[in-house]
C-alpha cells in the first residue's frame, strides 16, 4: 500500500541478571546491601508462605488459594520500591508484594479461609484488598491517580497489577486510555506469567508483546524479564520516578511464569507440559537472586540456611496465630451493607440472630 509514514514506535526488552546469574554490568543498578538482602528476604518469605498455604489448602485448613510462586521478583521488587504515600492496587497474584506492604500472613490465611477480616486494613496503608474481577482494579488505580493529582500530592505514585489475561478485558483498555488522557501517576505492571488458567499467552492476543499495547494509549511501555530482580528494580524505579514527578503513566510487561497451579482448584497438567514448567524453573527468580548475592559476597549457604529456618518459624507463628483466632461473629455482614442504618437490615439482623439461636429446634 503506497503511503507516508507518520508514526514510529518501538518496544524494548530489559534483562540485567540472566538465568545463569550473569550480570550485565553496564545496566546493573547500584543498590545497597541492606536493600538487596531485604528484597531477597521478602521473596523467600513469600515463597515459603505460598507453599505452606498450598499444603494447608490440601489439608482443608483454608479454602481455595492462588499461588504466586515463581513470580516473586515481578511483584516484590516494585512493592519494595514503593513508599508509604504510594498506593497499591493489586489483583490477586501479588502475595509477596502485599507482605511488603504490611499485610500479615495470618491475615492472608484469614482471607483465604473466607473471612472479610482478612481484608481489614486502615486506609492509611493505601493498599486495596485483593481484586478478583480480572482487570477491574486497573480503573480504580487510575481514579486514585486522578485524586492524587487533584490534591496536588507530591511524590506519590499508584501501582497497579494485572495478569496477561487481564489485558484482554475492556476495563484494562479503558484504564490505560484514561491514564494517558489524564496523565495520571500510575504504574501498570502486567505480570505476564504465560497463562490465564489454561489459555496460553499466544492465544490471548495476536500482539507479539504485551508491552506494545501501551502504544495504543500514547503511554511509555517496556518489556522486562520479570524473573530478574535487577531489571524489575530498574524498570519499576524509572516508572515510579516518572509518576511521582508528574511524568504520567508507564506500562511494564514483566515476563514471568506461574510455576504452580492457577489456584488450588486447578490442575495444570490438563493444559501444559512438565517440560515447559521445568524450563521455566531454570529461570526462577529466587536462586537467580541468591547467586547474585553470593557473587557480591554478601550471601552464602549458611546464611541461606539460617534465613530459611527463621522464615519457617515466622510462617509457623503466623499459622498458629490464624488457627488460634476465636470464632468471628456470624452476623458481621449486617454491619457493613451501608454506612447508614436501615430498618430492613436491622429487622433482618434480628431474624438472623433469632434463627441462629433456634438452630435446629424444629427440624
Amino acid at each position: 500500500m503506497p503511503k507516508k509514514e507518520i508514526g514510529k514506535f518501538s518496544v524494548s526488552y530489559m534483562q540485567i541478571l540472566d538465568e545463569t546469574g550473569k550480570v550485565d554490568t553496564k545496566l546493573e543498578p547500584k543498590i545497597n546491601n541492606k536493600d538487596l538482602l531485604a528484597m531477597y528476604r521478602w521473596m523467600v518469605l513469600s515463597r515459603e508462605a505460598d507453599q505452606r498455604m498450598i499444603n494447608m489448602q490440601r489439608q482443608g485448613r483454608i479454602g481455595t488459594m492462588g499461588p504466586s510462586t515463581g513470580q516473586e521478583a515481578a511483584h516484590v521488587i516494585p512493592a519494595y520500591l514503593m513508599n508509604e504515600k504510594d498506593w497499591f492496587v493489586g489483583a490477586f497474584r501479588e502475595a509477596g508484594a502485599r507482605l511488603v506492604r504490611g499485610e500479615t500472613i495470618a491475615q492472608a490465611l484469614l482471607f483465604y479461609n473466607g473471612f472479610e477480616e482478612g481484608n481489614k486494613k486502615p486506609k492509611e496503608y493505601r493498599t486495596l484488598p485483593v481484586s478478583i474481577i480480572v482487570g477491574a482494579q486497573t480503573l480504580h488505580a487510575v481514579g486514585i491517580g486522578y485524586a492524587v493529582k487533584y490534591r496536588g500530592e507530591k511524590d506519590t505514585a499508584v501501582v497497579t497489577f494485572m495478569g496477561d489475561g487481564a489485558t484482554s478485558e475492556g476495563d484494562f483498555h479503558e484504564a490505560l486510555n484514561f491514564a494517558g488522557v489524564w496523565q495520571a501517576p500510575v504504574v501498570f505492571i502486567c505480570q505476564n506469567n504465560q497463562w490465564a488458567i489454561s489459555l496460553p499467552r499466544h492465544k490471548q492476543t495476536k500482539a507479539e508483546t504485551i508491552a506494545q499495547k501501551a502504544i495504543a494509549y500514547g503511554i511509555p511501555g517496556i518489556q522486562v524479564d520479570g524473573n530478574d530482580p535487577l531489571a524489575m528494580y530498574v524498570a519499576s524505579k524509572e516508572a515510579l520516578d516518572r509518576a511521582r514527578s508528574g511524568g504520567g503513566p508507564t506500562f511494564i510487561e514483566a515476563v514471568t511464569y506461574r510455576l504452580m497451579m492457577h489456584t488450588t482448584a486447578d490442575d495444570p497438567k490438563k493444559y501444559r507440559t512438565e517440560e515447559e514448567v521445568d524450563e521455566w524453573k531454570q529461570k526462577d527468580p529466587l536462586p537467580r537472586f541468591q547467586k547474585y548475592l553470593e557473587g557480591k559476597g554478601i550471601w552464602d549457604a549458611k546464611k541461606e540456611e539460617a534465613l530459611v529456618n527463621e522464615i519457617k518459624s515466622e510462617v509457623d507463628a503466623a499459622v498458629k496465630e490464624f488457627e488460634d483466632l476465636k470464632e468471628l461473629p456470624a452476623e458481621a455482614c449486617f454491619d457493613h451493607v451501608f454506612g447508614t442504618k436501615h430498618v430492613d437490615i436491622e429487622e433482618q439482623r434480628m431474624e438472623f440472630l433469632d434463627d441462629q439461636k433456634r438452630g435446629t429446634d424444629n427440624a
Binding site: 486502615p122 451493607v337 451501608f338
Partner: protein
Amino acid sequence: MPKMNMVQAINLGLFQEMSKDDSVVVLGEDVGVDEGVFRVTAGLLEKYGEDRVIDTPLAESGIFGTSIGMALAGLKPVCEMQFSGFSYLITHQLEGHASRFRSRSQGDWTVPLVVRMPYGGGVRAMEHHSESREALYATIPGVKVVIPSTPRNARALIVAAVRDPDPVIFMEPKRSYRAFREEVPEEEEVMEIGKAQVVHEGDDITVISWGAMMRPTIQTVDKIGEKLGKKVELIDLLTVSPMDSITITESVKKTGRCVIVQEAPKNMGVASEIIARINDKVLMYLEAPVKRVTNYDVVTPYFGRETNYFPTPDRIYRAIEETLNF
C-alpha cells in the same frame, strides 16, 4: 423561593455541594464544555474548572471505575451516565466493587459516590433512551437507588446523595426535567434517603408511584377525589432501594386497598417488591388485590409507539376505580 424546573434544581444542588466541599467532583461524557446533554451541569465548569468538572473519554466503565478509585481516595465523585440506557456497562463495577468495598473491608474502605442518569421515556428519543430499569439496580445489595419526582425533592435528594456514605444511583426522570416548575428554596434543603413521602393523606386507598409517573398519578388522584369523592393516600417512593416499607405498610393498613403505578415493565419491577412487603406485613388488612399499573413485558418500544405502553391517566384511573369497587 424561586421557581425552577428539575434541571435547574439539580444544578443548584450540585453547585451548592461543590462550593461547600472541594472533594466533590463531576465527571462524565459532555458534562463540562457542553454542560451535559440536558444542561444539568450548566455553569459548573466555568465556576469550578477542568479539574473538578471533567469531560471524560467515551467509556462508561471507565467513568464509573475511576470514580470508585476517586472515592476510595477520599473524593466524592458525582459521575454521569449520559442516559441510563448506557449505564449497564457499569454493572460489573457496581455489583462487583462499588457495592462491596465496605463489606469486603468491614468498613475500612468505602465508596461514597453518586451516579446520575436520566432515565425513562416520553422525550421522543432514539433506542436506549426510554427505559426504566430501576429494578435492575435495586437487585444489588449495598447500592442505594434514588428517584426524585419534582424539582424540589430532586434538589434535596441530590444533596443527600452527594453526602451519603454509600454508592447512590440517582435516576432522573428526563420527562420531568423541564415539564414543570416548582418553588425550590435557595438555602440548603436535604431529604433523607430511604424514606418515602406521603404526598396526600387519605384513607380510602393507597396509591404509590415514583419518578415520572408521579405526574399522571397526581392528576388522576385529583380526579378520583372530584369524581368519586374518595380520599386517596398518595405515596412518592423516592428511594427505590433500600425501600421504606413502613410508610407503605402503615398506609395500606389504614386504607386496605392499594394501586401502584410504575413506568417499568410489570415483571420483576419495584411494584412486585412493594406487593411482597404488603404481603409480609399487612396482608390481612387488604380488601382487594393490590393492582399494578405498569408498562408491559415487552422490549421497550421505539418512541413512535411508546406512549401507548406507558401507564396513562386513564389506565391509572380505571385501576383505582376497580380497586375501590372490588
